[in-house]
């Protein structure tokens, strides 16, 4: 009987070894290789460009005059410098908060309308926010991440983001760090990135927004933050809110210098 148990345990060990190596090499990497440059996000990128140049809202103007930090209408390389402080709004913004700001101030739209459905629900082929994020990320492809820490409010955001990252809460007593604070861990068969260090943060931060094969849509960095909150059973993280911007600032600063490779392709 005792021998049988020992055999059982060592067999389990062998299975777990196989599982771990599968998580690292991953048939998913093979899949990604097969897809090559054929990321379905390419369609969404084109749609995002159309959204940018199409007049909308009560003012019937496009987003062309939107200042993403590099001057009105400059889109190349702009995404790589988010989150950043904007003097006109007097706060630190991520891309989604900035787009919302432009939609409100330029197009005359309401925050209620913009927040009604920023991210795709089941059955949707994409939203305006997702398409714009995909296109703008693509406009920064290959550009190194530089999330400025010059302004006191930017440093404040990083500190808040770090605090949130390690803050345990909710019915599971989870923090972001519970899953993403150590190297070489996995959940089910997926490798978990250590987002508290440069390498893990760089790999994650530079590949969002991303086309999610399991959902058939492009998901944004803000959505990724919100979904981690949902997985932790925390209250809904509001798009562009200080908490969302803070977490993204923490990741962006940790990822400093890594080149944007978004939109990525995720499971």
């Amino acid at each position: 009987m005792r021998n049988a148990i020992i055999v059982g345990i060592s067999l389990l060990g062998a299975v777990m070894l196989v599982a771990t190596s599968a998580a690292q090499d991953g048939i998913f990497d093979e899949y990604r290789e097969m897809m090559g440059d054929d990321n379905p996000a390419i369609f969404v990128i084109d749609e995002g460009e159309e959204y940018w140049y199409t007049p909308a809202g009560p003012n019937d103007v496009s987003l062309e005059a939107c200042d993403l930090g590099l001057g009105a209408g400059v889109v190349e390389g702009a995404y790589a410098r988010f989150p950043r402080y904007f003097e006109d709004a007097d706060r630190v913004m991520d891309l989604e908060a900035r787009l919302e700001y432009c939609m409100v101030t330029l197009q005359g739209r309401t925050p209620e309308e913009i927040h009604a459905k920023p991210y795709s629900l089941r059955g949707d082929l994409g939203t305006e926010m997702e398409a714009l994020s995909a296109w703008l990320a693509d406009q920064s492809a290959g550009v190194p991440v530089v999330s400025s820490q010059d302004h006191p409010k930017e440093r404040e955001m990083y500190a808040l983001g770090e605090q949130l990252f390690y803050y345990r809460a909710g019915p599971h007593d989870f923090s972001c760090a519970t899953c993403h604070g150590q190297a070489n861990m996995r959940i089910r068969l997926q490798a978990l990135a250590n987002l508290s260090g440069h390498d893990g943060a760089a790999e994650a931060y530079t590949t969002w927004p991303a086309y999610r094969i399991s959902e058939g849509v492009v998901r944004t960095m803000g959505w990724r933050m919100r979904d981690c909150f949902r997985q932790q059973r925390l209250p809904e993280l509001i798009m562009g809110s200080p908490a969302s911007v803070a977490l993204q600032t923490y990741l962006a600063v940790n990822a400093s210098g890594a080149e944007i490779a978004a939109p990525g392709l995720k499971r």
Binding site: M34, G123, I213, G216
Partner: protein, 103 residues
């Protein structure tokens, strides 16, 4: 914005490799939306690939194929510069088309 196809065709020795990515929701009809209402079926039923006007592949698809499907096909007899066209028709009668030249 359904209907778009991104297509590439490359000559590899004695055969031509075609890769096509299609923009389509491929709804099965089995899913429900957030309000609990069934999302109507909407999927590609028929895919055709031609090489210089001749059909080299004809497929019947169904609800089991993923959203934004990715198609890979190899055929013999192609040469650089030849035209390859992929078309589809879905259960609502909508169509999509994409074409390229073999390189």
């Amino acid at each position: 914005m359904a209907g778009r196809i991104r297509i590439r065709a490359q000559q590899q020795g004695d055969h031509t490799e075609v890769k096509a990515l299609m923009r389509h929701p491929m709804e099965t009809g089995q899913r429900k939306d957030q309000a609990g209402q069934a999302i109507p079926a909407h999927f590609i039923e028929e895919v055709t690939m031609t090489h210089n006007g001749n059909v080299v592949m004809h497929a019947y698809w169904g609800a089991a194929v993923s959203a934004n499907p990715f198609l890979g096909v190899q055929f013999a007899g192609g040469a650089a510069g030849d035209e390859v066209v992929v078309t589809w028709r879905d259960n609502k009668g909508e169509t999509g088309e994409g074409s390229t030249q073999i390189r």
